[in-house]
């Protein structure tokens, strides 16, 4: 969490440390794959063949790899939505709800202004998507800033409300003539452009740019310094005249806005319509990714890549070995368990010397 505030270490040491971290995470992910191999064996499948399929499906072809990137877009954004407020010590469990509100607001624009040209409609959708997510974060941030209710609880509660608003709008007002459980497909002008003939859409650019901005702001600006100060010691920051409440409100709402953007990107870039249960827990995955990466930008990129390999590979496993798609969540869970249960670094050193 306080990674950025460390004094600049010497290059050789730094290189070793990066290597150490890479090896540690590599081993942990390997262990998770071994555990899941046990599950595959128990269910009478050949784990080696299954993993060969999984990696062939994700790394074996350009299209397969592009699908991994497509799966990465929403979780990269929701991870950022959690990581930013975490820098000032706010816990945003609510990316799931903010994602839904972003999707709902963007869908409203896509359906209401469908006659507008693309260059006008898409910015409106982005703006409304961000606004939806930010509004959904405003209430928890406000209550937190006046010291009334903890943001963890309020964001969690609002997570359960937002999908019901989506259901209300889709079933009640927006559904297409033929099917009641989804909106009609968006017009072409309301779709984010895709690249290289794959399903990779502009959302990836949003994610990478925001990641770079996040890194730059935290490392190189006064805002980043003040945010790290608040996250490090709120009282000390307050006495130094940093406007804590303003930071809480603004940073939390920006976080919500990013999650809203993820929702907008998902409905506009990926589905091209809104279904009330379009998220398999992107917000929660984002929370876990941000937490696993300790809010570090490169770590977020890496962890969301790993998680999207698992998610995409799951599709393949479902096709080749007749397991339900949901079973891939086990591989995800094992990865998380192993990382959560990892020995902390000092202990590792102790064991080495012992």
């Amino acid at each position: 969490m306080t990674h950025g505030s460390d004094p600049q270490p010497k290059p050789s040491f730094y290189r070793n440390k990066t290597l150490q971290v890479a090896i540690r995470y590599g081993l942990m992910i390997l262990l998770a794959f071994l555990l899941f191999a046990g599950i595959l064996l128990l269910t009478g499948n050949n784990p080696i063949q299954s993993y060969r399929d999984l990696f062939a499906a994700t790394f074996g072809s350009a299209y397969g790899f592009s699908e991994v990137i497509v799966a990465m877009i929403p979780i990269l954004l929701t991870a950022l939505a959690v990581a930013l407020p975490s820098r000032i010590g706010l816990i945003n469990v609510g990316a799931e709800g903010q994602l839904f509100m972003g999707a709902i607001f963007a869908t409203f624009a896509a359906l209401a202004f469908k006659d507008l040209p693309s260059w006008l409609l898409l910015p409106i959708m982005v703006g409304l998507g961000v606004l939806g997510g930010a509004l959904w974060a405003l209430l928890p941030a406000y209550f937190k800033s006046i010291g009334l209710v903890n943001e963890t609880i309020t964001t969690l509660l609002l997570n359960s409300v937002a999908p019901k608003i989506a259901g209300l709008m889709v079933y009640g007002y927006w559904h297409s003539a033929r099917e009641t459980n989804m909106t009609p497909s968006f017009v072409e002008a309301a779709r984010l452009p895709t690249f290289f003939g794959t399903r990779i859409h502009l959302g990836l650019v949003f994610g990478l740019i925001l990641l770079a901005i996040f890194w730059f702001v935290m490392k190189r600006t006064r805002w980043g310094l003040e945010m790290r100060a608040i996250g490090g010691n709120t009282q000390a920051a307050k006495r130094n005249g940093i406007p804590i409440n303003a930071y809480m409100l603004i940073v939390f709402c920006i976080g919500g806005g990013i999650a809203g953007l993820a929702g907008m990107a998902q409905v506009s870039g990926f589905y091209g319509l809104l279904i009330p249960n379009f998220s398999p827990g992107y917000g929660y995955m984002g929370f876990l990714i941000s937490w696993l990466a300790g809010g570090d930008p490169l770590g977020i990129l890496f962890m969301s890549f790993v998680v999207s390999i698992i998610l995409t590979g799951g599709n393949m496993l479902q096709i080749t070995i007749a397991l339900p798609y949901a079973v891939i969540n086990l591989l995800l869970a094992f990865t998380l368990f192993v990382v959560l249960a990892r020995p902390s670094l000092p202990k590792l050193h102790k064991r080495k010397t012992a």
């Binding site: 969690l156 397991l323 959560l340």
Partner: protein
């Protein structure tokens, strides 16, 4: 609207509320020991699928209940390994348990999709046996429904009237102080989680073996999150949890009544009630909340090394 339809709605509200109350009671127990289990949804799913599988294989619903209860305890022990032994972050571990539950329950439940089972036998409320059949069938409940209120009182008694409960609450308030007074916080946290898992397992068993009588993926449909909301709503108190569940079940019943009577109101709007209500109550309590939540809720006990 006939009396019959009103009674029918009440009866189904009781059936849907029971599993919720068990799950809420379970979460009250572990939160009183200072541990937030956001993974309740996952625990419910694993318990429900295990219970259903055993009930279906053996043909004995009570064995199914037993399996569900034990499964709940086991999953919570796994969660305890992460958050107590390994000192992992409770929110992240809880979310990981949710994904674990999605995966494992899909695996366990896969051969049982579309299969129906012999449900728990239902008994008529005493003294109502003389009613005409179409009425009396609405007052037939299984043993888990009859037990849920006594269990709530039992949990209250254990938490507030026994030494074990005192120790458990002490750990939830301040584990270091509890340790200084000769208790073993880690052991107590594990015990609390195990008991909580058993209770959640009862809820899951009722949901799948008695209420729906079938298995589908993701069948809990957010009940775990509703239960977490109800724990806060009931201020971490087992008896107030009864009231909280009644309000929620009332909302469900109200919604069904409106549907029966043909008033067009979206079920989604009513599904928001428990969450919005909890939010409003939290805001109204404001400052007083601090006295009711266990003081070290969610905090990692580092121990004395």
């Amino acid at each position: 609207m006939s009396l019959l339809s009103i009674l029918g709605v009440l009866s189904s509200a009781i059936f849907s509320g029971t599993s919720l109350l068990y799950a809420t009671l379970g979460e009250v127990v572990n939160e009183r020991a200072g541990i937030v289990n956001l993974g309740l949804e996952g625990v419910l799913l694993i318990s429900a699928s295990t219970g259903f599988a055993i009930a279906s294989k053996t043909g004995n619903p009570y064995l199914g209940v037993l399996a569900a209860v034990l499964a709940g305890g086991m999953v919570n022990l796994l969660f305890g390994y992460l958050v107590v032994s390994r000192k992992a972050n409770q929110l992240a571990s809880g979310l990981a348990v949710i994904f674990f539950g999605y995966g494992l329950s899909a695996l366990i439940g896969k051969p049982f999709v579309g299969i129906s089972i012999k449900s728990l036998p239902r008994y008529i409320l005493p003294g109502l046996g003389d009613l005409p059949l179409r009425y009396s069938s609405l007052f037939k409940f299984d043993v888990l429904i009859f037990l849920v209120i006594p269990v709530a009182f039992l949990v209250w008694w254990f938490l507030f009237r026994t030494r074990w409960g005192l120790g458990l609450r002490a750990v939830g308030e301040n584990a270091d102080t509890a340790f200084a007074s000769g208790r073993n916080p880690q052991l107590i946290k594990f015990q609390a989680l195990f008991v909580a898992g058993l209770l959640v397992g009862l809820g899951a068993a009722h949901l799948t073996i008695s209420f729906t009588m079938n298995w589908t993926e993701y069948m809990t449909g957010g009940r775990g999150f509703i239960a977490i909301a109800l724990v806060i709503f009931s201020k971490w108190h087992p008896l107030r949890a009864i009231a909280g569940t009644l309000i929620f079940s009332g909302a469900v019943a109200f919604q069904l009544l409106l549907q029966v009577s043909g008033i067009p109101i979206s079920p989604f709007l009513l599904d928001m009630i428990p969450f919005v209500l909890t939010l409003v109550v939290l805001v109204i309590w404001g400052g007083t909340r601090k006295q009711s939540a266990p003081a070290s809720l969610g905090r990692v006990y580092q121990g004395t090394e």
